[in-house]
């Protein structure tokens, strides 16, 4: 069975008609894992055995087949899903790509896992990522980088690089990722897939390891917008375990977009003036033409505050990282390296457990929060963040979506971005949506001369998530 080119929609229909079984789908994914995982380093663990608290992938598949047989299946029943290594599944290890949590076993299900379990989805394994979701290439994983299935000499993007690579190589039909500054959309773009970051608050963050709590969101990576929507529809909703999560009805959540919404697209031309590869710009213009031909109105817009998004991000995010990761001190969970005193144990455990990028961001966060710099950096960044939110609110009175390339270049080679700022700049187009809490999707838009995928990003107003899934058909 060719699971590499199979969509969830197709698989779901085949399962319903009895043309295939979940066990067959899972076996096809397992076969691809066996053949290619050694080279690509995507799965940190395949769920091939069960424990008293958790079932193996094949056991889950058998249960799903039973659900379908009894007529209790949903459209996700029996679908093999890869889970990013920072999302908790009861009884399974979850390491966030870090040595710090190498042997940590989750004691509860993340809310998104609980919902997918109820729908009968099958968790095939946990996939590699940049340590604690910090990175744009998976080169920061403590377990080695993931290779891009389309060209193994290139990075798959990050931090959800394992999630994207798993789907692109037929090791799962879809995957969950997390997106703090582009970590779903950028790898989806680098691997030729659809990646979607929901509106902040719409998907519960309970059970995803916190990186930067005011920016993090869980979302889907899949082959088509239709598939991504199926995952989104399953995981969305208020959860009492996440105090920031919201009820769809309370927020005017657009379960189906208003008639006429979604036909006016704004292009922030000044964002594209420098630092974007020529072939990316050409592909972007071609995509604009396609939309025009499909009847879209294209407007040039100006977002002067939002161009500071990346600068704001590299103040607020490390501040939140330094706070969130302070819990990892060798006392309650994770790695402990005994020192001469408790304070010494903290230091030894944290120094041995955290990799270079994690330390860099903790130190940077400690700096921007320290006495004397707090006002100049942290407080100022929050003010600019509010200005960015306001700017988007105003621009969405004129246009329905803001459109940019997802990334300034196609997938780059390993080791190509050694300077941190150069690496951070690969998130220049994805970060604004996180800063303003907006829903944003990356859609594949063809290939470069060297055969690497391009992606186009659309960002919509708060709670316009559903409308983002409708654009792809007009880009073809």
């Amino acid at each position: 069975m060719d699971v590499k080119n199979l969509t969830i929609k197709q698989a779901s229909e085949m399962l319903k008609k009895g043309e295939t079984t979940s066990v067959e789908l899972v076996n096809a994914c397992l076969k691809n894992i066996e053949e290619k995982n050694k080279e690509l380093n995507i799965f940190l663990e395949v769920f091939d055995t069960s424990t008293s608290l958790s079932a193996s992938a094949l056991e889950q598949a058998q249960k799903a087949d039973q659900m379908i047989k009894e007529g209790n299946g949903t459209e996700l029943t029996g679908i093999p899903v890869a889970i990013k290594d920072n999302i908790l599944i009861t009884g399974k290890k979850v390491s966030a790509g870090s040595k710090m949590l190498e042997n940590y076993v989750a004691s509860y299900d993340a809310n998104v896992i609980k919902k997918l379990k109820e729908a009968g989805a099958v968790f095939i394994g946990r996939v590699n990522m940049d340590e604690f979701a910090m990175g744009s290439s998976t080169e920061n994983s403590a377990y080695g980088p993931v290779k891009n299935p389309i060209d193994p000499s290139c990075v798959p993007g990050g931090s959800s690089g394992g999630s994207a690579a798993a789907v692109a190589s037929g090791m799962a039909l879809c995957a969950l990722g997390s997106d703090t500054g582009g970590s779903i959309r950028q790898p989806a773009s680098f691997c030729g897939l659809v990646g979607m970051k929901p509106t902040y608050d719409t998907v519960s963050r309970s059970g995803v390891m916190a990186m930067a709590s005011s920016l993090d969101q869980i979302g889907p990576i899949a082959k088509t917008s239709e598939d991504a929507k199926m995952i989104f529809d399953c995981i969305v909703g208020k959860d009492e375990m996440d105090a920031t999560s919201v009820n769809q009805s309370e927020t005017g959540f657009r379960a189906s977009p208003k008639p006429g919404f979604g036909r006016v697209v704004g292009v922030p031309r000044d964002w594209l003036k420098e630092g974007v590869d020529k072939d990316v710009l050409e592909n972007f213009e071609q995509s604009l033409e396609k939309l025009k031909n499909s009847g879209y109105t294209i407007k040039d817009i100006s977002l002067p505050y939002s161009k500071y998004s990346l600068a704001v991000y590299y103040i607020l995010m490390p501040a939140e990282v330094s706070t969130n990761l302070s819990r990892l001190d060798g006392v309650r969970y994770g790695l402990r390296k005994e020192g001469e005193s408790v304070a010494d144990t903290y230091k030894k455990s944290r120094s041995e457990g955290f990799g270079a990028e994690t330390r860099r961001r903790i130190i940077l966060g400690t700096y921007v929060l320290s006495h004397g710099y707090y006002d100049a950096y942290y407080n100022k960044a929050w003010k600019v963040r509010h200005a960015i939110e306001k700017e988007f609110e105003n621009i969405f009175k004129e246009v329905d979506f803001v459109m940019t390339p997802t990334t300034p270049s196609v997938a780059f080679k390993f080791g190509a971005k050694k300077d941190p700022v150069q690496m951070y700049l690969s998130d220049i187009f994805t970060v604004p949506a996180n800063i303003a809490g907006l829903p944003s999707i990356s859609i594949p838009s063809g290939f470069s001369i060297s055969g690497l995928p391009f992606g186009i990003e659309f960002t919509g107003p708060l709670f316009s998530d559903q409308a983002l899934f409708n654009i792809e058909k007009d880009l073809l």
């Binding site: 299900d109 704001v312 330094s322 969970y333 402990r336 408790v342 944290r350 130190i363 700022v421």
Partner: protein
């Protein structure tokens, strides 16, 4: 920023660094701060925040959790009688 600033931050963050790591971090942080300092010039005095945060705490009554005490204790690096065990503090 100087090496002693990095040492001070590392002490606050409870991270040990080698001399090479300190030098690398100093260079990296200089580069990053040089990039982020562009927000200094952004004029935001007329920006008003129109939303406010509200408290969403639950009532302070004990409720059952899906996980057991044993599951949580099993993840402690060291435990004794159901408690986290650490070196003497005082």
């Amino acid at each position: 920023m100087q090496i002693k600033d990095i040492e001070n931050l590392a002490e606050l963050a409870k991270i040990e660094l080698t001399e090479t790591e300190k030098a690398d971090l100093l260079k990296d942080l200089d580069g990053i701060l040089d990039y982020v300092k562009q927000i200094e010039s952004v004029e935001v005095s007329d920006i008003e925040v129109e939303y406010s945060s509200k408290n969403v705490w639950r009532e302070d009554v004990p409720a059952a959790r899906v996980f057991s005490r044993e599951q949580v204790i099993s993840q402690f690096p060291d435990a004794k009688d159901g408690f986290v065990k650490v070196k003497k503090i005082l």
